[in-house]
Symmetry: C2
Subunit: 87 residues, 2 copies
């Protein structure tokens, strides 16, 4: 199972990037989920920063963005999921 990191509009991109880099070094892949424009923006910034964090480990990260239907508090929402893998 790939670990899923949830990012909100209030997430700090550098903090997310640190966590994401740790998961990627451990597991080789990860998934980031975001709901709403603010969250998607922070997620994208975090992933851009993460590329720099893991590049010295020889990892050339690529991202696959996709839609995901998820349930929050019984309500159906459309999230963006970013599947993050080495190229």
């Amino acid at each position: 199972m790939v670990q899923v990191l949830r990012v909100s509009a209030n997430s700090r991109p550098k903090a997310v990037a640190g966590a994401l880099a740790a998961v990627l070094r451990e597991d080789g892949a990860a998934e980031v989920q975001a709901i709403g424009a603010g969250a998607v923006n922070q997620a994208v910034k975090a992933i851009a920063i993460t590329r720099g964090y893991v590049a010295p480990n020889g990892i050339d990260l690529v991202v696959i963005p996709a839609f995901a239907d998820i349930e929050i508090d019984g309500q159906q929402r459309t999230a963006i999921k970013f599947i993050i893998e080495p190229r």
Copy 2:
């Protein structure tokens, strides 16, 4: 030179996806630029839709997000650029 598509918060993701798919089928790669959370969100949605548009052409798209310093009306702004390539 890779073609650059600029996306705004008001861009319709499906329209951007159509344009992006055409560029990708022609050139094999493309770049999408967005400034601000609303624009980044529309860009990500457009790219997710584009994956479906070009998958029947045997293209498995991946994305590399990066920061880009660009100048608009003489002002320095930080954009997100999405480099879009086949895996």
